[in-house]
């Protein structure tokens, strides 16, 4: 079984995620990813924040485009800090944001959020979006994925790796309970402080969202 992180503090809290014995890896097209890099075409030397944690594929792809990559294993830190604790505790929320998104205003030219936002409690989600909005420069883009099955109690827990500009490798590591399930309207409301939101509905009931700061 492939564990999501190294030894030491638990990479994934046992109560949050049910791990499969085997990782299932699929390659599929991603319109959202294609749009994200299309928006940055011709540019080099950008600072891209990847919240999926470091992977060889993402490092190779982004650095080969001439960009600087910042890597943060957002979900792992979420489990380390919150675990079974109250997800709405303001002190813990502030501590979490200091650990994960402590950057200068406007530091990033793009953020690969992947599906992490759907695992955040409402209070944490609001604070995280506010922080993300502050650390990306105006006119930059964020790519986020949300599961669209509103009846699901648990959703596939993926790791996202970039295969090329139009394709991603989805590695399903198990199931995880989302904090919230979003539809298009709730997503529009979620990103109301951003300039624009564009949706792509795909297979695996994943909704891809490109958000412009």
């Amino acid at each position: 079984m492939s564990s999501p992180g190294p030894s030491g503090p638990a990479a994934v809290h046992p109560s949050s995620t049910t791990l499969f014995s085997k990782e299932i890896v699929t390659s599929r097209a991603s319109r959202g990813l294609e749009q994200f890099f299309f928006c940055h075409r011709g540019e080099v030397g950008l600072s891209i924040l990847d919240l999926a944690g470091a992977s060889q594929e993402n490092i190779n792809f982004i650095t080969n485009l001439g960009h600087r990559l910042y890597s943060e294993d957002f979900v792992r830190t979420l489990d380390d800090i919150f675990g079974d604790e109250d997800p709405g505790d303001p002190a813990r929320i502030e501590h979490f944001l200091r650990q994960t998104l402590s950057f200068e205003p406007g530091q990033f030219d793009g953020v690969l959020v992947w599906d992490v936002l759907q695992y955040l409690s409402p209070a944490l989600l609001t604070a995280t979006l506010e922080r993300l909005r502050s650390i990306v420069r105006p006119q930059s883009y964020l790519l986020a994925y949300f599961h669209s099955d509103e009846k699901a109690q648990q959703v596939p827990f993926y790791s996202f790796r970039i295969k090329d500009q139009q394709h991603i490798l989805l590695s399903q590591r198990g199931l995880r309970k989302p904090a919230q399930i979003f539809n298009n309207r709730s997503l529009e409301k979620l990103f109301q402080k951003f300039e624009s939101v564009k949706f792509f509905l795909t297979r695996e009931q994943l909704r891809e969202v490109i958000v412009r700061r």
Binding site: G5, P6, A11, S47, A54, I59, T63, L69, S71
Partner: protein, 193 residues
């Protein structure tokens, strides 16, 4: 008449042989100037790592300060400060805990680094390793299961200028082949290079 034969001046009496040195008595004990240990003296064999030209810091060792090395270094202990190996390889062992900035030609991490890493050639972060800090390197290899938090700047080394100049000369000479004989001989000389 002398009964003694006049010696020829050319005759040189043989030099008397020196007396043979008396044989030493093997039974006589030697007098020792300094006392010796009762344990048999044995030259310690260097650890395998140093036999290959690599220094080593064991897991029970803690160092607080600056480390400069002109050979490969293996760190399996605690280091706080800076580690610099300009043209050599640094390996952080599975027990290694390094709270310092690191600069080397090549860095292999099996343990824990908290600090910025500048690896001019290559950086490897192995499974179960942990690196928190900013990275500057020409190549990076990160295994599944490794933890990394920070920024990555890929800095490729510049190609050697002399090689580039040598390769460009024949290419530059080709278009001049249709010129006069004088120029042709010059071109031929260049091509030969």
């Amino acid at each position: 008449m002398s009964i003694f034969t006049k010696r020829s001046q050319e005759e040189v009496p043989p030099a008397p042989r020196p007396a043979a040195a008396p044989p030493s008595n093997p039974i006589e004990p030697k007098k020792e100037a300094t006392p010796l240990s009762s344990m048999p003296f044995k030259t310690p064999e260097p650890p395998e790592s140093t036999q290959r030209g690599q220094a080593s810091i064991g897991k029970a060792v803690k160092i607080n300060g600056q480390i400069y090395s002109k050979e490969d270094l293996y760190v399996d202990g605690d280091v706080e400060g800076t580690i610099e190996l300009q043209e050599h390889r640094l390996t952080i062992g599975p027990n290694g805990k390094v709270h310092s900035s690191v600069k080397a030609r090549e860095v292999v991490v099996l343990g824990n680094i908290q600090g910025n890493v500048d690896a001019s050639d290559k950086l490897e972060i192995r499974k179960d390793a942990r690196l928190v800090g900013d990275i500057k390197t020409a190549r990076i290899i990160i295994e599944d299961g490794a933890y990394f938090k920070g920024s990555i700047d890929i800095v490729k080394p510049e190609p050697a200028k002399s090689n580039m100049a040598a390769q460009s000369r024949p290419q530059q000479a080709v278009p001049a082949a249709a010129a006069s004989n004088a120029q042709g001989s010059a071109v031929a000389a260049e091509v030969k290079r």
